[in-house]
Subunit: 313 residues, 2 copies
């Protein structure tokens, strides 16, 4: 019986190992309307780690009024027992969130800004500058406590209200965050419109500002099917950390029915095909995503999950 | 109101123009079980051309016993009235098919071989060498009549029965076809397992045999979501012709429910994003694919078609 698996054929000049930053439990579940029990979330995270995920964003210490799905952040953190070797991160929107995260035992936090005014207003109830000020304040406080800080920038390529986002603007915000002390950056194509030339231009602008590639993660959405070619372009520019969600969990909030986050399985297929190590067992991960898809009540949009399941039946 | 469209940001060193070889009417419809009326097929092709398709594979002059869906090849050709500027191609499996195609007014024909024995046996009822002999015979006859000939090679990356396919074997078959007179090649990842390093290795092997990039088209399937990154890798190696089907028409015959052909819309999004001309109007093409999806009774697997339709509602 044939068992589909990627053939390993490396391409010259790419990283030999990539860190996959798993966003399913936070970014993915946040987009789901069905409320998921804390125990199910904990099982999801533990199964991800068992499948080889080395880096997982667990939850968000945002106000429960904003995101009821993640209101159980403390309870979830308390329930989890993960090995120290796993890098775990929690999102914090402000000082209050940081205090809660630290009290809950967070090892690393993530802050969040927008590259566009309209998204800052609608999603963060702020301005671009206001969000940056809030993020740098949290960053300073977290660093003073010895915690690493990841800085997310949303809408780095296009914005539904403002159109194309200039790479210079994104690079300036990235430089401000790095100067304020963030230890890494995640550059998001929140609506999934970017293509490889745009990715390379943005990475050029970051390099011109002296930001090392080792501090950069790319966060692509697959709404227009472009995520993996953007990952490949990023790899050719030396990027070695990518955000994705197991099974493609998390829909696109700007186009009902469309795909959001890049599926971890689709990313793993390409990386393993390129001979790049990720630590992930694709079959275990697919089983985990399929199980989680049942919990939330709709099927995975991942091409790999769909095809592997089809090949089994 | 926001209208999603790719932002044009060219990447260095890529072709400025790409020929999209539209396989929907033949390769796509062939995989559909619902019988489509000839008039619908003709409308589909005429709408594709109106949306800017410059190269279309119309049908196949295969025995109606093998593929009942395409039994109306003569009737369809007779019904169509396309401008001379459109490159039209028909598939021919043998001398009999070539005679029928020529009688029906074909301007270019395509022949078909397999890189693996098991696929040759199951799909062509032949051996690899037997299929090559049949193809070269048809090629010689077609060239003698002044017709260009496209040579398809299936299973160029992986095979469900034989696993990884050696690039040297594919390159040797490609060289044999070119020496026999085919004017262009289409190298198919029939089960969609390939990744960019494998693509670059195959293109290297073709270059070593002196086959010019201008004669090479790549035919990727999106079964594991890898098609577009493989297109991008091919572009960096100078390839400028790609096969795709409108709306992703044509399912994967080896994994029920999985995606087959790369959707033309997803390809166009990336190419236009890279500032590469295709001649295609994305909105018209999406309308055409959506209309065709209604005719065949199931929705398009294309990420772009899905997202653009979602954005409109």
């Amino acid at each position: 019986m044939w068992k589909p698996a990627p053939h390993r054929v490396p391409a010259p000049g790419l990283p030999t190992s990539v860190r996959i930053y798993e966003v399913g439990p936070r970014d993915g579940l946040q987009a789901e309307t069905a409320v998921i029990p804390t125990e199910t979330k904990a099982q999801f995270i533990e199964r991800l780690v068992a499948a080889g995920s080395r880096t997982v964003e667990l939850t968000s210490f945002v106000s429960p009024r904003w995101i009821p799905q993640l209101a159980d952040a403390e309870e979830l953190m308390d329930r989890l027992h993960l090995p120290d070797s796993v890098r775990t991160v929690v999102l914090v929107p402000n000082r209050k969130g940081l205090e809660r995260a630290v009290a809950a035992g967070a090892r690393e936090v993530a802050v969040f800004v927008s590259a566009t005014e309209e998204f800052a207003k609608r999603n963060l109830n702020s301005t671009v500058d206001g969000a940056i000020a809030a993020a740098t304040e949290v960053t300073a406080a977290a660093r003073a406590l010895g915690l690493p800080v990841r800085g997310y920038i949303s809408m780095c390529f296009g914005d539904p209200w403002e159109g194309t986002v200039p790479v210079e603007r994104v690079a300036d915000i990235a430089k401000t965050l790095v100067d304020s002390g963030v230890t890494s950056l995640s550059l998001g194509d929140t609506i999934g419109v970017g293509t490889p030339g745009h990715v390379l231009a943005l990475l050029d602008a970051l390099r011109e500002r002296g930001i090392p590639t080792s501090q950069i993660a790319m966060h692509f959405h697959d709404t227009y099917g472009q995520a993996l070619s953007n990952v490949y372009a990023s790899l050719t520019a030396g990027v070695s950390e990518f955000d994705s969600s197991a099974g493609g969990l998390g829909r696109c909030p700007y186009a009902k029915g469309a795909t959001g986050n890049l599926a971890t399985e689709d990313l793993v297929w390409m990386l393993h095909g390129l001979g790049i190590d990720t630590g992930i067992d694709l079959d275990s991960l697919t089983d985990t995503s399929s199980w989680m898809a049942e919990q939330i009540g709709h099927s995975s949009p991942s091409r790999v999950v769909t095809a592997l399941r089809a090949a089994r039946t």
